[in-house]
Amino acid sequence: MDEVILRFLWIYTWFVLIATIGLGLYGIAVKPNMLKKIISLTILGDTANVFMIYVGYRAVYPIKPPVLWTMNPSKEVLENFASQITDPVPPALVITAIVINMAITILITFLAIQAYRLYGTLDSRKISKLRG
């Protein structure tokens, strides 16, 4: 019974995450306002990050972050440690992804502000019709 509930929750969470990614894609593709597109982009990027962390999660108890509690570990400590931790590789990839995502988001926000200064609008349909 426990196995079935765990499996259901696991698959349900996958569907929720993928639906959020779909929402982000919808916002980027359909909404005309530039700032709305940027908000959708941040939602898409953050959900992709949660997705990656979720791949490294383990359904065991006790579960701990991959931080060792001693500087000179013995063999028993290491075996105990290996049985309790989450995967350290996805967080290491995500931590840079967050900072780079934010740098890129800030750059496009600046570009949107500059576009508003020059053209007086944030509507991507109007900007795409401008010539010269």
């Binding site: 639906a19 959020t20 908000i39």
Partner: protein, 85 residues
């Protein structure tokens, strides 16, 4: 039993995050949309904590809730508040 509790908490938090994301994308007032987006970021911070990634919590709490919202609010102030249909 405890992994089930843990996973159900994670699924609840991520579902709330999805609801906030829907509200943020469907809202026409950009300031409200930014607030909903910050709510979604707060939900994801809790999700990262439950998924045992304390490093991500430290970075994302400041970035997702603070910096994103601040930059977008200043951008809205410099441009226009309402999204035209």
């Amino acid at each position: 039993m405890i992994p089930i509790l843990h996973l159900s908490l994670i699924s609840i938090v991520l579902t709330l995050g999805m609801v906030f994301a829907y509200l943020a994308i469907s809202e026409r007032d950009l300031l409200k949309a930014i607030v909903y987006s910050a709510g979604q970021a707060a939900m994801y911070v809790i999700a990262f904590y439950l998924l045992m990634a304390p490093d991500i919590v430290l970075a994302y709490a400041a970035v997702g809730v603070g910096v994103y919202s601040a930059v977008m609010i200043i951008a809205v102030k410099k441009t226009e508040r309402y999204e035209k249909p």
